[in-house]
């Protein structure tokens, strides 16, 4: 390895670690779960109440589970199942995204609700 290899790897690592820390610090725990399909809100739920919701369009589905203050997709029929592998979310601004089905599940805090609904 040459000198510039180390500089490249070190600077890329520092940039991404700092970036991740900034993202994580900006997140307080959220209260609401919002499901968007093709960028339209189709479902909202409270994070502290256990529930299940089947996001369905035609033959596509993603099953959203809210349990113990966390939201996750436990089953879906998209290719690769990335949305299932994205795991559990509970912090404000965190999201699960299923690109093939254009589904976004976001956790938001109650405070921003008005602003968010105006901007929809």
């Amino acid at each position: 390895m040459k000198k510039w290899d180390y500089i490249l790897i070190a600077s890329l690592t520092i940039i991404s670690v700092v970036w991740i820390i900034i993202i994580l610090r900006g997140q307080s725990s959220g209260e609401k779960v919002i499901v968007k399909l093709n960028d339209k809100v189709i479902y909202t739920a409270l994070l502290n109440e256990d529930s299940e919701y089947l996001i369905k369009t035609g033959n596509d589905y993603n099953n959203l589970v809210i349990k113990d203050g966390e939201a996750y997709i436990d089953d879906a029929n998209c290719k690769g199942l990335d949305c299932v592998r994205m795991g559990h979310i509970s912090r404000d601004g965190e999201s699960i995204i299923c690109i093939p089905h254009s589904v976004i599940v976001t956790v938001e805090s109650d405070k921003d609700n008005n602003i968010d609904f105006v901007s929809e």
Binding site: M1, K2, D5, L8, S16, V17, G80, R85, I104
Partner: protein, 168 residues
């Protein structure tokens, strides 16, 4: 000349097989979108043995064949964007002589991942995907290191064969 054509065909074929294997056997890591990028071993080695034109050519052949075999226009856009950005980063680094094959391969992997996120943002219109970029940069550093180390092991062995002058 014929030998070069044959070798490049072999490179393209191996790159295609690596991509195929990676597509059907995902890494057992709970982070979506992370791939080892084994095909890049061939691209980097081709860059070092034959040059940039040949490396771009076999990468392009690989992407076209993948698109034909899997008939997925979306993955075609993603791989093409990844290939263009990663070569745009790898070539100047390779030329500058300040970097070893490992630095070149890390830049290629990070560039590839960045291009994929940007493409996903453009295709889906979801700006939030940018939050995922630092994770993919780190994964690019790790996979780029692995690919670079593999390349560094293989390259001197290939040079022994002396690709241009193989006796048939």
């Amino acid at each position: 000349m014929y030998k070069k054509t044959a070798f490049l065909g072999l490179f393209a074929c191996l790159a295609l097989i690596f991509s195929y294997v990676e597509a059907i056997v995902p890494l057992p890591i709970p982070v979506p979108g992370v791939k080892l990028g084994l095909a890049n071993v061939l691209i980097v080695i081709c860059l070092y043995t034959y040059g940039v034109k040949e490396a771009v050519a076999i990468n392009f052949v690989r992407i076209i064949l993948l698109a034909v075999l899997f008939a997925n226009p979306y993955s075609f856009i993603y791989s093409l964007a990844g290939a263009v950005i990663s070569m745009a980063l790898m070539y100047p680094l390779y030329k500058s002589k300040g970097f070893s094959i490992i630095g070149v391969s890390v830049a290629g992997a990070v560039g590839h991942n960045t291009a994929q996120i940007l493409t996903a943002m453009a295709v889906t219109g979801i700006v939030k995907l940018i939050d995922y970029l630092p994770v993919l940069i780190i994964s690019g550093i790790i996979t780029g290191l692995i690919i670079g180390i593999i390349g560094r092991i293989i390259l001197p062995q290939l040079k022994k064969i002396d690709l241009e002058r193989v006796k048939s």
